[in-house]
């Protein structure tokens, strides 16, 4: 079966900086989170997959269609909500959606479809106001709706909740869960692990321009191996952490090695995706 997204030996540099370095990735469907810190190259990969920029070398295909040679087919298969909002600020939310629907060939049904979508997202009232009056959260949600105005095979969301307050963030998560269930493959990029865990079936970790890990949330945590003994103070901050393989002897040895004892509590922790990520990217782990 043709993969939904297939990336082979992809390279992209900006001036002297190599951003994507021999990147390989295969996505067969479902909701996939592309996880990586700021500057990892997520938006660069999204821009290549959505035909906005060309790779220097390597290939990227969507349902077998090359993003460079067959860009127009890819444009009809993929919808994207970019990292920055891309709405028409002078038009209303409803006019924005209806216009994009017409541009995608929905014809007269575009307006109905816009109303239906606004209704589902509980944006019907906001839909009659000009976008320039919207809050950041509303803008983001309408931007998301704009990618769903017509059916697509692949939906790409570039950091859909970055910069949102917790309430708006939860609403966008609900929107994604509600809207992305009809067999559309979703690739979403994120910097946060809880977002990946909350939304995705699979997680792909991007670091230094390449994929360093790929699997389900469970598989990734398993990669990190055993449990660790941690010493936490009354406020819950980790004072000390010693890795173990989970056996009685190694836990006992770990406790033996711990120095501080002034009222701190001992916990046995299973590896979280956070740990997995830290390990995979060799980033200094912040106190959990």
């Amino acid at each position: 079966m043709t993969p939904v997204i297939e990336v082979r030996a992809l390279q992209k540099s900006f001036r002297h900086q190599r951003v994507l370095n021999n990147l390989n990735m295969t996505i067969d469907g479902g909701v996939v989170a592309l996880l990586g810190p700021n500057g990892a190259g997520k938006t660069t990969l999204v821009s290549i997959l959505t035909t906005l920029i060309r790779p220097d070398a390597g290939t990227a295909r969507v349902l077998g269609h090359d993003v460079v040679r067959d860009a127009s087919t890819v444009r009809s298969l993929v919808r994207v909500t970019g990292q920055a909002t891309s709405l028409d600020e002078l038009l209303t939310g409803r006019e924005n959606l209806a216009m994009l629907g017409k541009l995608l060939g929905l014809g007269r049904t575009a307006t109905n479809r816009a109303d239906e979508l606004l209704e589902r997202l509980d944006l019907a009232a906001a839909g009659r106001k000009a976008v320039r009056t919207y809050s950041g959260g509303m803008r983001r949600r309408l931007d998301l709706a704009a990618s769903l105005i017509a059916p697509a095979k692949v939906l790409i969301l570039d950091e859909p909740t970055t910069g949102l307050d917790p309430v708006s963030r939860a609403r966008v998560w609900d929107d994604i869960r509600q809207l992305a269930i009809d067999g559309t493959t979703v690739l979403l990029t994120t910097q946060t692990l809880d977002e990946a865990e909350a939304l995705a079936d699979r997680v792909t970790v991007l670091h230094r321009g390449g994929i360093v890990a790929d699997g389900t949330v469970g598989e990734l945590t398993a990669l990190v191996g055993g449990q660790s003994v941690v010493l936490v103070d009354t406020a819950g901050s980790v004072l000390e952490r010693v890795e173990t393989d989970g056996t009685r002897a190694s836990v006992a040895a770990a406790l033996e090695r711990m120095q501080r004892d002034n009222g701190a509590r001992v916990e046995l922790r299973s590896p979280s995706l956070e740990d997995a990520f830290a390990k995979l990217t060799q980033i200094e782990e912040v106190a959990a």
Binding site: T43, S47, T50, T51, L52, I53, S72, R75, S76, L77, V78, R79, V80, G82, A84, T85, S86, L87, D88, E89, L90, L91, E95, M99, L100, K102, L103, L104, G105, L106, A130, A146, L148, A150, P151, A152, K153, L179, D182, G183, T184
Partner: protein, 259 residues
């Protein structure tokens, strides 16, 4: 969502142009202040030149017949300059990024801005001509003369708008786009629009003589109130400007940065 997953096939260049023309016209109507200025400024300019300066410039009272064609052309420059801002806003504020990921010709959004500008300017021109009649403009043109004059005016509006669209493509921000184009707004003052070239100093007369606004104004003037025009030179100037703008736009559009 619905169960159909047949992906969108997009629309033809003609259809997307139609959608974008509608969008830009909506922008024009929504931006009430901008529309008011596009009409009020030329009217004020005309009243100033005819009522305030008119008596001093030409005592016989027929200065209005001389100056109206120039006002109409100056007005085209005012109305077209906002095209640079609209195009730049699309290029820099993200909308174009989405269009470029969709299955239609993204540059048709610029066609929308250009056509809307032509429509706005023709409305402003009609108002200016109406006010001119009200204050004593009495051209002796027949229907053919009017058609010829409006044809040249429309061509000039299209040419000026194309230049402003290119400025919008090149400018780094809508504010910068707004700042450019001074020269175009200035051209009519350095032409035979307001005073005959013979009355200008020797060193400036050739500039006024060989810039596009002068032959175009002379042509409109001859079509409406008589005298000698240069229709062929005027049409060639306009088509030449449009061609250069198209070439520049076609070169620049694919090279605009993605972020």
């Amino acid at each position: 969502m619905t169960t159909t997953t047949t992906p969108a096939t997009g629309v033809s260049t003609l259809s997307s142009s139609g959608v974008f023309i509608r969008r830009s016209l909506l922008h024009s109507i929504r931006d009430g202040e901008g529309l008011l200025m596009a009409i009020a400024l030329p009217v004020m300019l005309m009243l100033m030149f005819t009522v305030v300066f008119g008596g001093a410039i030409q005592g016989d009272g027929r200065y209005i017949d001389y100056v109206v064609p120039g006002i109409i052309l100056t007005c085209a420059g005012f109305g077209a300059s906002s095209t640079a801002v609209s195009v730049s806003r699309d290029m820099t504020a993200g909308a174009m990024l989405r269009y470029r990921t969709m299955p239609f010709v993204a540059s048709t959004s610029i066609v929308g801005h250009v056509i809307a500008s032509v429509v706005r300017n023709l409305v402003a021109t009609a108002v200016v001509i109406g006010v001119a009649f009200a204050i004593g403009f009495r051209p002796d043109a027949d229907l053919g003369g009017w058609i010829a004059a409006l044809g040249i005016v429309t061509l000039w509006i299209l040419a000026v708008t194309s230049v402003f669209a290119v400025i919008g493509l090149i400018a780094g921000s809508p504010e910068a786009a707004n700042g450019y184009g001074f020269i175009i707004l200035f051209l009519p003052y350095l032409s035979s629009a307001f005073v005959p070239i013979e009355t200008m100093p020797d060193w400036i007369a050739p500039v006024a003589e060989y810039q596009p606004v002068t032959p175009i104004i002379e042509t409109i003037r001859s079509a409406l109130v008589g005298g000698e025009g240069q229709p062929l030179v005027s049409i060639l100037w306009c088509l030449g400007i449009i061609l250069v703008a198209l070439v520049l736009a076609a070169w620049r559009f694919p090279r605009t940065p993605v972020r």
